[in-house]
Subunit: 194 residues, 2 copies
Protein backbone atom coordinates (compact mmCIF):
# COMPACT_ATOMS: atom_id res chain seq x y z
CA UNK A 1 0.00 0.00 0.00
CA UNK A 2 1.87 2.98 1.30
CA UNK A 3 4.19 4.16 4.02
CA UNK A 4 2.68 3.58 7.48
CA UNK A 5 2.54 6.18 10.21
CA UNK A 6 5.35 6.21 12.71
CA UNK A 7 3.28 7.70 15.56
CA UNK A 8 0.38 6.62 17.68
CA UNK A 9 -2.58 8.94 17.21
CA UNK A 10 -3.75 8.66 20.82
CA UNK A 11 -0.30 9.45 22.21
CA UNK A 12 -0.07 12.50 20.00
CA UNK A 13 -3.51 13.71 21.03
CA UNK A 14 -2.64 13.24 24.69
CA UNK A 15 0.53 15.30 24.33
CA UNK A 16 -1.37 17.97 22.43
CA UNK A 17 -4.11 18.06 25.06
CA UNK A 18 -1.56 18.51 27.86
CA UNK A 19 0.13 21.32 25.99
CA UNK A 20 -3.14 23.21 25.41
CA UNK A 21 -4.13 22.49 28.99
CA UNK A 22 -0.93 23.98 30.39
CA UNK A 23 -0.57 26.99 28.14
CA UNK A 24 -4.02 27.70 26.71
CA UNK A 25 -4.93 27.92 23.05
CA UNK A 26 -3.41 31.25 22.07
CA UNK A 27 -0.19 30.71 23.98
CA UNK A 28 0.46 27.36 22.33
CA UNK A 29 2.43 27.69 19.11
CA UNK A 30 2.86 25.12 16.40
CA UNK A 31 6.46 24.90 17.49
CA UNK A 32 5.26 23.86 20.97
CA UNK A 33 3.05 21.21 19.42
CA UNK A 34 5.90 19.91 17.27
CA UNK A 35 8.13 19.71 20.34
CA UNK A 36 5.69 17.80 22.55
CA UNK A 37 4.59 15.43 19.80
CA UNK A 38 7.93 14.94 18.09
CA UNK A 39 6.22 15.40 14.74
CA UNK A 40 6.91 17.83 11.92
CA UNK A 41 4.46 20.45 10.79
CA UNK A 42 3.53 18.54 7.67
CA UNK A 43 2.65 15.40 9.61
CA UNK A 44 0.46 17.32 12.03
CA UNK A 45 -1.34 19.09 9.22
CA UNK A 46 -1.79 15.92 7.17
CA UNK A 47 -3.12 13.96 10.12
CA UNK A 48 -5.23 16.52 11.99
CA UNK A 49 -5.71 19.63 9.89
CA UNK A 50 -4.81 23.08 11.17
CA UNK A 51 -4.23 24.24 14.73
CA UNK A 52 -7.88 24.93 15.42
CA UNK A 53 -9.07 21.53 14.24
CA UNK A 54 -6.34 19.81 16.19
CA UNK A 55 -7.38 21.74 19.29
CA UNK A 56 -11.03 20.78 18.88
CA UNK A 57 -10.04 17.18 18.38
CA UNK A 58 -8.02 17.19 21.60
CA UNK A 59 -10.79 19.01 23.45
CA UNK A 60 -13.45 16.53 22.35
CA UNK A 61 -11.22 13.66 23.38
CA UNK A 62 -10.78 15.26 26.77
CA UNK A 63 -14.52 15.72 27.23
CA UNK A 64 -15.29 12.17 26.15
CA UNK A 65 -12.64 10.76 28.47
CA UNK A 66 -13.99 12.84 31.33
CA UNK A 67 -17.49 11.54 30.75
CA UNK A 68 -16.11 8.01 30.64
CA UNK A 69 -14.44 8.48 34.01
CA UNK A 70 -17.59 10.07 35.38
CA UNK A 71 -19.75 7.16 34.27
CA UNK A 72 -17.33 4.80 35.92
CA UNK A 73 -17.32 6.85 39.12
CA UNK A 74 -21.08 7.12 39.31
CA UNK A 75 -21.77 3.51 38.44
CA UNK A 76 -19.13 1.85 40.57
CA UNK A 77 -20.04 3.37 43.94
CA UNK A 78 -22.15 1.10 46.13
CA UNK A 79 -24.16 4.08 47.29
CA UNK A 80 -24.99 6.82 44.83
CA UNK A 81 -24.67 9.59 47.40
CA UNK A 82 -20.99 8.74 47.88
CA UNK A 83 -20.46 8.99 44.14
CA UNK A 84 -22.06 12.42 44.16
CA UNK A 85 -19.75 13.53 46.95
CA UNK A 86 -16.79 12.19 44.99
CA UNK A 87 -18.00 14.11 41.95
CA UNK A 88 -17.92 17.32 43.96
CA UNK A 89 -14.52 16.52 45.48
CA UNK A 90 -12.94 15.46 42.20
CA UNK A 91 -11.33 18.85 41.51
CA UNK A 92 -9.35 18.61 44.78
CA UNK A 93 -8.67 14.87 44.69
CA UNK A 94 -5.36 15.48 42.92
CA UNK A 95 -3.45 18.07 44.98
CA UNK A 96 -1.11 18.97 42.16
CA UNK A 97 -3.80 19.17 39.53
CA UNK A 98 -6.00 21.79 41.15
CA UNK A 99 -4.12 24.77 39.75
CA UNK A 100 -4.34 23.30 36.29
CA UNK A 101 -8.08 23.60 36.31
CA UNK A 102 -10.13 21.83 33.67
CA UNK A 103 -9.25 22.00 29.99
CA UNK A 104 -12.88 22.49 29.02
CA UNK A 105 -13.36 25.27 31.56
CA UNK A 106 -10.12 27.03 30.73
CA UNK A 107 -10.93 26.87 27.04
CA UNK A 108 -14.45 28.15 27.58
CA UNK A 109 -13.27 31.16 29.54
CA UNK A 110 -10.58 31.94 27.00
CA UNK A 111 -12.56 31.37 23.81
CA UNK A 112 -16.32 31.22 24.42
CA UNK A 113 -16.99 34.69 23.06
CA UNK A 114 -14.99 34.25 19.87
CA UNK A 115 -15.12 30.55 19.05
CA UNK A 116 -18.59 29.07 18.47
CA UNK A 117 -17.17 25.54 18.24
CA UNK A 118 -15.78 25.74 21.76
CA UNK A 119 -19.03 27.15 23.09
CA UNK A 120 -21.01 24.37 21.41
CA UNK A 121 -18.66 21.78 22.87
CA UNK A 122 -19.14 23.27 26.32
CA UNK A 123 -22.91 23.10 26.06
CA UNK A 124 -22.78 19.54 24.82
CA UNK A 125 -20.41 18.58 27.62
CA UNK A 126 -22.47 20.09 30.43
CA UNK A 127 -25.75 18.73 29.09
CA UNK A 128 -24.27 15.26 29.20
CA UNK A 129 -22.76 15.78 32.64
CA UNK A 130 -26.05 17.08 34.01
CA UNK A 131 -27.91 14.05 32.69
CA UNK A 132 -25.39 11.63 34.19
CA UNK A 133 -25.42 13.34 37.57
CA UNK A 134 -29.21 13.67 37.61
CA UNK A 135 -29.58 9.95 37.11
CA UNK A 136 -27.25 9.37 40.03
CA UNK A 137 -29.21 11.81 42.18
CA UNK A 138 -32.38 9.87 41.42
CA UNK A 139 -30.63 6.67 42.45
CA UNK A 140 -29.46 8.27 45.70
CA UNK A 141 -33.04 9.28 46.38
CA UNK A 142 -34.27 5.74 45.76
CA UNK A 143 -31.57 4.51 48.13
CA UNK A 144 -32.89 6.90 50.76
CA UNK A 145 -29.66 8.91 51.11
CA UNK A 146 -30.93 12.16 49.63
CA UNK A 147 -34.15 13.95 50.38
CA UNK A 148 -36.74 12.86 47.85
CA UNK A 149 -38.52 16.15 47.42
CA UNK A 150 -35.77 17.77 45.33
CA UNK A 151 -35.88 17.63 41.55
CA UNK A 152 -32.98 15.43 40.41
CA UNK A 153 -32.15 17.60 37.41
CA UNK A 154 -32.20 20.79 39.47
CA UNK A 155 -30.03 19.19 42.10
CA UNK A 156 -27.65 17.96 39.43
CA UNK A 157 -27.37 21.47 38.01
CA UNK A 158 -26.58 22.83 41.44
CA UNK A 159 -23.95 20.14 41.99
CA UNK A 160 -22.33 20.75 38.61
CA UNK A 161 -22.32 24.50 39.13
CA UNK A 162 -20.76 24.11 42.54
CA UNK A 163 -18.18 21.69 41.16
CA UNK A 164 -17.19 24.15 38.47
CA UNK A 165 -16.86 26.80 41.14
CA UNK A 166 -14.46 24.52 43.00
CA UNK A 167 -12.50 23.88 39.83
CA UNK A 168 -12.25 27.59 39.26
CA UNK A 169 -11.17 28.51 42.77
CA UNK A 170 -8.43 25.92 42.49
CA UNK A 171 -7.30 27.47 39.25
CA UNK A 172 -7.33 30.86 40.99
CA UNK A 173 -4.72 29.62 43.43
CA UNK A 174 -6.79 28.69 46.47
CA UNK A 175 -4.78 26.19 48.47
CA UNK A 176 -6.06 22.65 48.35
CA UNK A 177 -6.67 22.31 52.08
CA UNK A 178 -9.05 25.27 52.26
CA UNK A 179 -10.67 24.23 49.00
CA UNK A 180 -11.26 20.69 50.25
CA UNK A 181 -13.02 22.08 53.28
CA UNK A 182 -15.19 24.24 51.04
CA UNK A 183 -15.98 21.27 48.85
CA UNK A 184 -17.08 19.30 51.90
CA UNK A 185 -19.25 22.20 53.04
CA UNK A 186 -20.88 22.37 49.64
CA UNK A 187 -21.45 18.63 49.59
CA UNK A 188 -23.08 18.71 53.02
CA UNK A 189 -25.37 21.55 52.03
CA UNK A 190 -26.30 20.34 48.56
CA UNK A 191 -26.92 16.71 49.47
CA UNK A 192 -29.24 16.98 52.45
CA UNK A 193 -30.04 13.75 54.24
CA UNK A 194 -33.74 13.01 54.27
Amino acid sequence: MARPRTFDEQQVLTAVRDQFWDAGYADTSLEDLMRVTGLGKGSLYAAFGDKHRLFLRALRGYVDDSHGHLRQLLDSAPRAVDALRSFLMAPVSDPDGAARGCLMANSTCELASTDPDVLAEARRAYDTTTALVAECVARAQREGDVAGDADPVETARALLTAQQGIVYMGRAGTDVAALSATARTLADRLLPRP
Copy 2:
Protein backbone atom coordinates in the same frame (compact mmCIF):
# COMPACT_ATOMS: atom_id res chain seq x y z
CA MET B 1 3.99 73.96 31.47
CA ALA B 2 3.34 71.61 28.64
CA ARG B 3 0.71 70.23 26.38
CA PRO B 4 -2.17 68.71 28.36
CA ARG B 5 -3.71 65.33 27.66
CA THR B 6 -6.68 65.22 25.38
CA PHE B 7 -8.18 62.08 26.91
CA ASP B 8 -9.72 61.11 30.20
CA GLU B 9 -7.75 58.35 31.86
CA GLN B 10 -10.80 56.68 33.37
CA GLN B 11 -12.65 56.63 30.05
CA VAL B 12 -9.66 55.08 28.36
CA LEU B 13 -9.32 52.44 31.06
CA THR B 14 -13.00 51.61 30.78
CA ALA B 15 -12.73 51.14 27.03
CA VAL B 16 -9.63 49.02 27.47
CA ARG B 17 -11.29 46.91 30.13
CA ASP B 18 -14.30 46.24 27.89
CA GLN B 19 -12.06 45.24 25.03
CA PHE B 20 -10.07 42.78 27.13
CA TRP B 21 -13.31 41.55 28.65
CA ASP B 22 -14.86 40.82 25.27
CA ALA B 23 -11.86 39.36 23.49
CA GLY B 24 -9.47 38.15 26.17
CA TYR B 25 -5.86 39.18 26.57
CA ALA B 26 -4.19 37.33 23.73
CA ASP B 27 -6.90 38.09 21.20
CA THR B 28 -6.74 41.81 21.86
CA SER B 29 -4.20 43.56 19.68
CA LEU B 30 -2.75 47.01 20.14
CA GLU B 31 -4.70 47.99 17.06
CA ASP B 32 -7.90 47.00 18.87
CA LEU B 33 -6.88 49.09 21.85
CA MET B 34 -6.10 52.07 19.62
CA ARG B 35 -9.49 51.72 17.96
CA VAL B 36 -11.56 51.56 21.15
CA THR B 37 -9.62 54.31 22.89
CA GLY B 38 -9.09 56.58 19.90
CA LEU B 39 -5.47 57.01 20.97
CA GLY B 40 -2.26 56.37 19.07
CA LYS B 41 0.34 53.87 20.08
CA GLY B 42 2.68 56.49 21.41
CA SER B 43 0.05 57.93 23.74
CA LEU B 44 -0.90 54.53 25.10
CA TYR B 45 2.71 53.61 25.75
CA ALA B 46 3.58 56.96 27.30
CA ALA B 47 0.56 56.91 29.58
CA PHE B 48 0.27 53.26 30.59
CA GLY B 49 3.37 51.34 29.54
CA ASP B 50 3.19 48.22 27.42
CA LYS B 51 0.23 45.97 26.73
CA HIS B 52 0.75 43.84 29.80
CA ARG B 53 0.94 46.77 32.20
CA LEU B 54 -2.11 48.36 30.62
CA PHE B 55 -3.97 45.10 31.04
CA LEU B 56 -3.03 44.81 34.70
CA ARG B 57 -4.07 48.39 35.26
CA ALA B 58 -7.50 47.73 33.72
CA LEU B 59 -7.84 44.48 35.64
CA ARG B 60 -7.04 46.10 38.98
CA GLY B 61 -9.53 48.85 38.25
CA TYR B 62 -12.16 46.24 37.48
CA VAL B 63 -11.49 44.38 40.72
CA ASP B 64 -11.53 47.55 42.80
CA ASP B 65 -14.78 48.68 41.19
CA SER B 66 -16.31 45.27 41.81
CA HIS B 67 -15.38 45.41 45.46
CA GLY B 68 -16.83 48.89 45.67
CA HIS B 69 -20.13 47.66 44.28
CA LEU B 70 -20.04 44.67 46.57
CA ARG B 71 -19.50 46.85 49.65
CA GLN B 72 -22.42 48.98 48.59
CA LEU B 73 -24.61 45.92 48.02
CA LEU B 74 -23.74 44.30 51.32
CA ASP B 75 -24.04 47.47 53.37
CA SER B 76 -27.19 48.89 51.88
CA ALA B 77 -29.49 45.90 52.37
CA PRO B 78 -31.74 46.17 55.43
CA ARG B 79 -31.25 42.48 56.10
CA ALA B 80 -27.86 40.92 55.48
CA VAL B 81 -29.30 37.62 54.26
CA ASP B 82 -30.96 39.40 51.34
CA ALA B 83 -27.62 40.93 50.41
CA LEU B 84 -26.05 37.49 50.42
CA ARG B 85 -28.77 36.19 48.13
CA SER B 86 -28.19 39.16 45.84
CA PHE B 87 -24.48 38.40 45.86
CA LEU B 88 -25.23 34.89 44.63
CA MET B 89 -27.72 36.10 42.04
CA ALA B 90 -25.52 38.91 40.75
CA PRO B 91 -24.12 36.90 37.80
CA VAL B 92 -27.65 36.42 36.43
CA SER B 93 -29.03 39.82 37.34
CA ASP B 94 -28.04 41.20 33.95
CA PRO B 95 -29.49 38.82 31.31
CA ASP B 96 -27.19 40.05 28.57
CA GLY B 97 -24.08 40.05 30.68
CA ALA B 98 -24.09 36.41 31.74
CA ALA B 99 -22.26 35.14 28.66
CA ARG B 100 -19.57 37.75 29.17
CA GLY B 101 -18.57 36.19 32.43
CA CYS B 102 -16.28 38.07 34.76
CA LEU B 103 -13.10 39.77 33.58
CA MET B 104 -11.15 38.51 36.57
CA ALA B 105 -12.37 34.95 36.08
CA ASN B 106 -11.82 34.94 32.33
CA SER B 107 -8.33 36.33 32.80
CA THR B 108 -7.50 33.82 35.49
CA CYS B 109 -8.53 30.87 33.34
CA GLU B 110 -6.63 32.20 30.37
CA LEU B 111 -3.45 33.31 32.11
CA ALA B 112 -3.11 31.90 35.63
CA SER B 113 -0.52 29.32 34.66
CA THR B 114 1.71 31.70 32.73
CA ASP B 115 1.21 35.10 34.33
CA PRO B 116 2.09 35.41 38.04
CA ASP B 117 0.72 38.95 38.21
CA VAL B 118 -2.73 37.80 37.19
CA LEU B 119 -2.64 34.94 39.65
CA ALA B 120 -1.59 37.29 42.45
CA GLU B 121 -4.38 39.67 41.53
CA ALA B 122 -6.87 36.81 41.65
CA ARG B 123 -5.76 35.76 45.13
CA ARG B 124 -5.91 39.32 46.38
CA ALA B 125 -9.37 39.77 44.89
CA TYR B 126 -10.87 36.63 46.37
CA ASP B 127 -9.31 37.18 49.78
CA THR B 128 -10.97 40.56 49.89
CA THR B 129 -14.28 39.22 48.63
CA THR B 130 -14.25 36.43 51.18
CA ALA B 131 -13.65 38.88 54.00
CA LEU B 132 -16.48 41.16 52.88
CA VAL B 133 -18.93 38.30 52.49
CA ALA B 134 -17.91 36.69 55.78
CA GLU B 135 -18.64 39.90 57.62
CA CYS B 136 -22.07 39.98 56.02
CA VAL B 137 -22.69 36.36 56.97
CA ALA B 138 -21.88 37.21 60.58
CA ARG B 139 -24.35 40.07 60.42
CA ALA B 140 -27.03 37.78 58.99
CA GLN B 141 -26.40 35.41 61.87
CA ARG B 142 -26.75 38.22 64.40
CA GLU B 143 -29.99 39.19 62.69
CA GLY B 144 -31.22 35.64 63.13
CA ASP B 145 -31.66 34.92 59.41
CA VAL B 146 -28.86 32.37 59.04
CA ALA B 147 -28.13 29.43 61.29
CA GLY B 148 -25.60 30.53 63.86
CA ASP B 149 -23.61 27.31 64.07
CA ALA B 150 -21.87 27.77 60.74
CA ASP B 151 -18.44 29.41 60.52
CA PRO B 152 -18.89 32.75 58.70
CA VAL B 153 -15.63 32.46 56.76
CA GLU B 154 -16.37 28.91 55.68
CA THR B 155 -19.88 29.91 54.62
CA ALA B 156 -18.44 32.88 52.76
CA ARG B 157 -16.04 30.62 50.90
CA ALA B 158 -18.88 28.31 49.93
CA LEU B 159 -20.95 31.26 48.72
CA LEU B 160 -18.08 32.71 46.71
CA THR B 161 -17.25 29.34 45.18
CA ALA B 162 -20.88 28.79 44.24
CA GLN B 163 -21.10 32.29 42.80
CA GLN B 164 -18.06 31.69 40.63
CA GLY B 165 -19.65 28.46 39.46
CA ILE B 166 -22.72 30.43 38.41
CA VAL B 167 -20.56 32.97 36.62
CA TYR B 168 -18.82 30.18 34.80
CA MET B 169 -21.96 28.30 33.74
CA GLY B 170 -23.28 31.55 32.31
CA ARG B 171 -20.08 31.99 30.37
CA ALA B 172 -20.49 28.40 29.15
CA GLY B 173 -23.77 29.33 27.52
CA THR B 174 -26.33 28.12 30.06
CA ASP B 175 -29.50 30.10 29.46
CA VAL B 176 -30.30 32.66 32.09
CA ALA B 177 -33.64 31.19 33.11
CA ALA B 178 -32.18 27.81 34.05
CA LEU B 179 -29.19 29.48 35.65
CA SER B 180 -31.40 31.73 37.77
CA ALA B 181 -33.21 28.68 39.05
CA THR B 182 -29.91 27.05 39.91
CA ALA B 183 -28.76 30.20 41.67
CA ARG B 184 -31.92 30.20 43.76
CA THR B 185 -31.42 26.53 44.61
CA LEU B 186 -27.87 27.23 45.72
CA ALA B 187 -28.97 30.23 47.78
CA ASP B 188 -31.64 28.17 49.53
CA ARG B 189 -29.20 25.40 50.34
CA LEU B 190 -26.25 27.54 51.37
CA LEU B 191 -28.18 30.00 53.52
CA PRO B 192 -30.23 27.73 55.76
CA ARG B 193 -32.74 29.41 57.99
CA PRO B 194 -32.08 28.74 61.66
